[in-house]
């Protein structure tokens, strides 16, 4: 376990030196600063009477502040969910190939580290990175809005972490793909394919209905069944953020998505154990 933690920390150290992540952190900080300095919410008796961003009026309806913020929270949750996943797929695609780079993998394997620990450490490190990004980006955004409006709610803070669960499955696929073929592009493509397949999985019954009944349809249903339910998790996150009840099936989707991720990792571990370096 300690070895996994060391590898994970190594990933975090590596990420902190990358321009992608520095630029991302810088952009988030600028957005936060902009909101802190430029956003003005005039709340009178709980009603949002005026909203100004750098002096420009944004809408002029007078409504209950928490009702207005619900829409903002929903939009922000969707944005954080999908943009966060998209950024994660692109920015984290080369951690796996870097781990397996000639010279580095031989060096790591010469240390008292098992192959599966290397894989798990890399995975955990990238997930920690994802959680940190979610906390800083979305958490900071929601914190500023709550502080400025006086409407305090934990829901959007919690909801946005459903993206991390979806990323768990996506990155497991990406890492596994990198073990099979050491390529950042292929790793990103694998993540992208599962990302979009996970969105389409929400419509698998409708898609199956247009496939001719028989073996083809059954194969499609079997193959699409374990896909992570990206779209459903996004909708659930938005629903939770705005105070709607979580879907009944959310627990199963979460477990299923995590299980899909573990299956991908197990596949990657199987391939890694059989590789000659």
């Amino acid at each position: 376990m300690r070895t996994v933690a060391y590898v994970a920390l190594d990933i975090l150290r590596e990420a902190s030196a990358r321009r992608w992540f520095l630029a991302f952190a810088g952009a988030l900080t600028l957005i936060h600063l902009g909101l802190c300095l430029g956003l003005r919410l005039d709340v009178v008796d709980g009603a949002l009477a005026a909203t100004r961003l750098f002096g420009n009026a944004l809408g002029h309806d007078i409504r209950a502040a928490d009702v207005v913020l619900r829409n903002v929270f929903e939009a922000a949750t969707y944005t954080a969910f999908y943009a966060g996943l998209g950024f994660g797929v692109l920015a984290c695609s080369d951690f796996g190939p870097e781990l397996l780079a000639p010279g580095r993998i031989e060096h790591l394997l010469s240390l008292p580290v098992r192959r599966v620990e290397l894989l798990l450490g890399t995975f955990v490190g990238v997930l920690l990175l994802c959680l940190a990004g979610t906390t800083y980006g979305a958490g900071g955004f929601f914190l500023i809005l709550c502080a400025k409006s006086g409407v305090w709610t934990l829901r959007p803070f919690l909801a946005v972490y459903l993206a991390s669960v979806a990323f768990f499955a996506l990155y497991a696929c990406m890492l596994s793909a990198a073990v099979f073929v050491r390529s950042a592009s292929l790793s990103a493509a694998a993540g992208g394919v599962v990302f979009f397949a996970g969105i389409l999985a929400a419509k698998r019954d409708s898609i199956a209905a247009v496939i001719e009944a028989g073996l083809g349809r059954q194969v499609f249903l079997a193959l699409s069944a374990p896909l992570p339910r990206v779209a459903e998790l996004g909708q659930a996150a938005a629903a939770i953020a705005v105070g709607e009840p979580a879907p009944d099936a959310l627990g199963r989707w979460l477990l299923g998505t995590l299980t899909f991720g573990l299956a991908s990792l197990a596949l990657g571990a199987w391939r890694l154990e059989g590789k000659d370096f």
Binding site: A64, L227, R229
Partner: protein, 357 residues
């Protein structure tokens, strides 16, 4: 061996993931965008054109009718609407000039989901009252009435109630044994007691109220009195519509808003759509922009506070009501919108409403 274990674990986990995901996703139920009654829809424009059957008499004809009826000639009052302008809706003529003028489209309302629910939830006592009314007067409100309107005169006196519909067989004599019956003008049968009066105009409008209020209304309908300007013809949409003066409104509002309302608001025009959810739009007009803006903010704040309190006290009805409420400031006016979902009304009314729906 260990390697095979990983492969078997992967396959097993994939099967488990597939099984866990089998439950189909229930679509996220979201309330459809609400269409507040902000303007007349084509069928309402057509309906209003159909109802515009009242022709303003020529001023000379009016003076002659007034002198026939024994009233002093009214030289100062020229008709607010020129005689060559399109004809008017008699209900709007009856309502013209009042501090309060409201129309309820009962004919449409009773066939709406809300109307069906309300009718289904009438208590046995309500139904007995309705039957007694039918037996005593011969009036079958649910079948004969098209609209119910209420007005009060410019001095804010006693309200006058106006029922519109197919009332040809109605006998004004039901007002009471002590009522005196008379013909008023060319089209009106009038029954008067010392305190109440009831006039049937053209078999279409039943006017009820104090003798002075009813006579004033009938005088306009009979062309004996000028018709003050009324913008109701352009506001005739929704299942309830009408206008109220700021002064009259201040009498209806809570004390903290009443003073502000009387200072800032000159007139409030109201529309309610009850074809599905109950949607209310009120346009508040005033001359003092600052006071109007203050009133808008105060109203928005009061609604937000009320909503927060309702949420905290778990009063679903009130929080639903105030959830979609908003105030939209404009030049010389602001618009106030409020919605009450049909499900909320159904929940409040209970089983009878559910069955009716």
């Amino acid at each position: 061996m260990k390697r095979t274990g990983f492969l078997l674990a992967a396959l097993g986990l994939l099967v488990l993931a597939g099984w866990l995901m089998l439950e189909p996703a229930a679509p996220r139920l979201r309330r459809a965008a609400l269409e507040f009654p902000r303007y007349a829809r084509p069928h309402e424009v057509e309906r209003q054109q159909r109802r515009s059957t009242f022709v303003l008499p020529h001023p000379r004809e009016r003076a002659s009718r007034a002198s026939d009826a024994g009233a002093p000639p009214d030289d100062s009052a020229e008709p607010a609407v020129a005689v060559d302008e399109p004809v008017l809706d008699p209900v709007h003529v009856a309502l013209a000039g009042g501090e309060i003028a409201f129309v309820v489209e009962t004919g449409v309302l009773k066939d709406s989901p809300l109307g069906r629910m309300l009718l289904a939830c009438l208590s046995p006592e309500n139904e007995a009252d309705l039957q007694e009314l039918e037996q005593r007067t011969g009036l079958r409100p649910l079948e004969q009435l098209e609209r119910i309107a209420v007005s009060s005169d410019a001095q804010g006196g006693e309200p006058v109630l106006i029922l519109s519909g197919d009332l040809g067989g109605f006998d004004p004599g039901v007002l009471g044994d002590d009522a005196t019956l008379e013909d008023y003008g060319k089209k009106t049968k009038l029954a008067v007691t010392s305190r109440r009066a009831l006039g049937l105009w053209d078999g279409r409008l039943l006017v009820m109220g104090t003798p002075s209020g009813v006579r004033g209304t009938l005088a306009r309908l009979e062309g004996e009195a000028p018709v003050p300007p009324s913008d109701l013809s352009s506001e005739a949409y929704g299942e309830v519509y009408g206008s109220i003066s700021g002064r009259a409104l201040s009498r209806l509002l809570p004390s903290q808003l009443a003073a502000r309302a009387s200072e800032a608001a000159q007139r409030v025009v109201l529309h309610v759509d009850a074809t599905d959810d109950l949607l209310l739009v009120a346009d508040v007009y005033g001359q003092d922009e600052d006071k109007l803006a203050d009133l808008g903010v105060a109203l928005g704040g009061a609604l937000a506070l009320g909503r927060l309190q309702a949420v905290e006290e778990k009063e679903a009805l009130l929080s639903d009501l105030l959830d979609e409420s908003r105030v939209t400031p404009g030049a010389g006016s602001f618009q106030f919108e409020m919605a009450l979902p049909l499900e909320t009304i159904e929940r409040q009314l209970g089983e009878c409403a559910r069955q009716a729906r």
